[in-house]
């Protein structure tokens, strides 16, 4: 079903897009260094980073997909925003983010080299950059497909337009443009979804009316589902896979997320951003999941759950406000693509170009290379989006890549945790643990997917057991780190690393003062 739009709706959308573009370009025109581009010159305030964290986390496909999952499976999908975000963000705020910020690193793999060795840095950087580069194409494709379904727009045009819009301001303004445009996108996204929620609840007769209409489907109102549920979110997967593994791995180890806190103006701002983000996260299920439940009551015979949110918007919102909903969708799309684009460019420039190709690269060269890499990644993403579009089962690729991400998220978290909490963990252990964890996840995936070829039962009883892959991959990685750390050279202590980082900062300051005096 297409969302009918009027001229006023299109005007709202155009004003939003033009404003975002202008802000992004205005921010970046006077950048001079790589630090300006990748870490926003370490000038970002907590409120902007916090809103950017939330906006980056929720993509355009998530708004539609989470609303759809709520329509299909009920309230349990809210776990992904609540227990799957808030606790990990709070722990990150007080334990991990302060140390990353104090070390002055550009990327998480850079931290891993300081703590372990270059092998750990390159392994993780390679995994992340491959995943991010492919994910950029998938996000462009999935969003274009959704815009085609919702509005009847040409997918080719959607891919080019999204890439061009996001590319221009990300290339010009780097992290700073990404974060400040995310602030606008966060406001528009929350505002647009709040409208659908408010009008939808009014239409359903308030919360009491909604509860009454959903009385026939009591499982839709359950936040925690039993371990043997047919839905893909049993409490075991939510607790052990999501809350304890994937969520910390995401909020602590995902460069696209952590990078903005590395650009905070102080350690306190970096911490406060995560706490502010956690508070914002609490409201997200109310504005995305509850509309999915309203759709259950309003459209009981709806077969395609992904149509739930768009149908609500289409039937409930008046002219003008539909444009705001569309702007919210586009905002969610752009805020995720720009974050992954900037993060991937940072990893390529910092962990490969500066570390392996040109160690004496100046700040100006880093800025130039960063912009070139951003452009190259964008061209790749557009090409990959068209490649997926040419596949017969193009839409299935999105789910496959989410599973692929779970392969290395658990092992990556194990390596980071070992670096923080186990003094004896060394580079050999990190590498052995990471590789063995990834092999475990891939092995479980293969056994589960092709079990029939061996005449076996499926290993997991739920449809998409990626939450469980990450748990076992994490466990195996921990064992691998423990065993591997018995060999190889002893590691540097955390105190040594911090002392080194403080010395580096002092040297940098002296150089700047010397330059200014000269």
């Amino acid at each position: 079903m297409e969302v009918g739009l009027s001229g006023i709706d299109y005007a709202v959308l155009v004003i939003y897009l033009a404003g975002t573009l202008a802000l992004g370009v205005a921010i970046g025109w006077k950048f001079k260094t790589g630090k300006d581009f990748f870490l926003a010159g370490r000038s970002l305030p907590w409120w902007a980073i916090g809103m950017s964290l939330v906006a980056s986390d929720i993509g355009g496909t998530d708004i539609i997909g989470v609303g759809g999952a709520a329509h299909k499976f009920g309230l349990s999908v809210a776990n992904f925003e609540w227990i799957g975000c808030v606790p990990a963000m709070i722990v990150a705020a007080f334990v991990f983010v302060p140390l990353f910020w104090r070390m002055g690193v550009y990327t998480i793999p850079e931290y891993l080299e300081r703590r372990f060795n270059v092998g750990a840095r390159v392994s993780l950087a390679t995994c992340w950059v491959i995943f991010m580069a492919c994910n950029l194409g998938i996000m462009l494709f999935a969003s274009a497909k959704m815009l085609n379904v919702l509005l009847g727009w040409d997918p080719t045009l959607c891919i080019f337009m999204s890439a061009l819009l996001v590319g221009v301001y990300t290339m010009a303004g780097g992290l700073k443009a990404v974060v400040y445009t995310d602030v606008i996108q966060c406001v528009v996204m929350i505002g647009g979804c709040l409208l659908v929620l408010g009008i939808g609840l009014y239409d359903a007769g308030g919360i009491a009316g909604l509860r009454e209409q959903l009385a026939a489907k009591p499982e839709h109102m359950e936040l925690l589902l039993p371990a043997d549920t047919e839905a893909p979110f049993p409490w075991t997967g939510i607790l052990f896979g999501l809350a304890l593994i994937l969520s910390p791995a995401y909020w602590i180890g995902n460069q696209a997320i952590v990078q903005r806190s590395l650009g905070a103006k102080s350690e306190f701002h970096a911490q406060a951003a995560y706490v502010w983000g956690a508070l914002l996260k609490i409201i997200i299920p109310f504005i995305i999941v509850v509309p999915g439940l309203i759709a259950v009551a309003k459209f009981p015979g709806l077969e395609d759950s992904d149509q739930a949110f768009p149908m609500l918007a289409s039937t409930l919102l008046p002219v003008g406000l539909r444009g705001l909903f569309l702007a919210a969708f586009v905002a969610a799309l752009m805020s995720s693509v720009d974050s992954y684009l900037n993060a991937a460019a940072t990893i390529v420039t910092s962990d490969f170009y500066k570390r392996l190709i040109r160690r004496d690269a100046s700040e100006a060269q880093m800025l130039r290379v960063g912009r070139i890499v951003t452009a190259a990644l964008l061209v790749w993403a557009v090409g990959f989006a068209f490649y997926i579009a040419s596949l017969k089962e193009g839409s299935g690729v999105y789910a496959i890549f989410q599973t692929l991400m779970s392969f290395f998220q658990g092992p990556a978290l194990a390596v980071i945790l070992a670096g923080f909490f186990w003094k004896r963990a060394n580079g050999t252990g990190a590498l052995v643990g990471f590789i063995s964890g990834v092999i475990c996840a891939v092995g479980l995936f293969a056994i589960d997917r092709w079990h029939e070829a061996f005449g076996w039962q499926p290993l997991f009883k739920i449809g998409e057991p990626f939450l469980y892959f990450s748990v076992w991959a994490f466990v195996v990685a921990v064992v691998g780190i423990a065993v591997g750390s018995c060999f190889g050279t002893p590691p540097k202590s955390q105190a040594d690393l911090l002392a080194q980082a403080a010395q580096d900062r002092l040297n940098e300051k002296q150089q700047q003062e010397g330059g200014a005096a000269a």
Binding site: I83, I90, P226, A227, W235, F268, V275, W276, L279, W456
Partner: protein, 83 residues
Amino acid sequence: MTPLHWIGDLIRQAVIAVPMGAVRALFVALLLGLLVWVLRLPKERTRPPLEDGSGYDEKSLSGNLKLWAALALGLMALIYLIV
């Protein structure tokens, strides 16, 4: 059947036997445990440093991250308790 299937079935049977009331209590306990940890954090980790570097701002209520983190976790515990 492989040893992995056997281990999987064993774990599955064990977790299915856990009553949902206990599961809810586990989620709430996890959040409350985290809340207690946050409340016990020292002020150097939860408050902004003073501009002259002589200590930490202990007067500002809005600058007390412990308070806001506790609010987030408290709301979460409440949600998992009642929903």
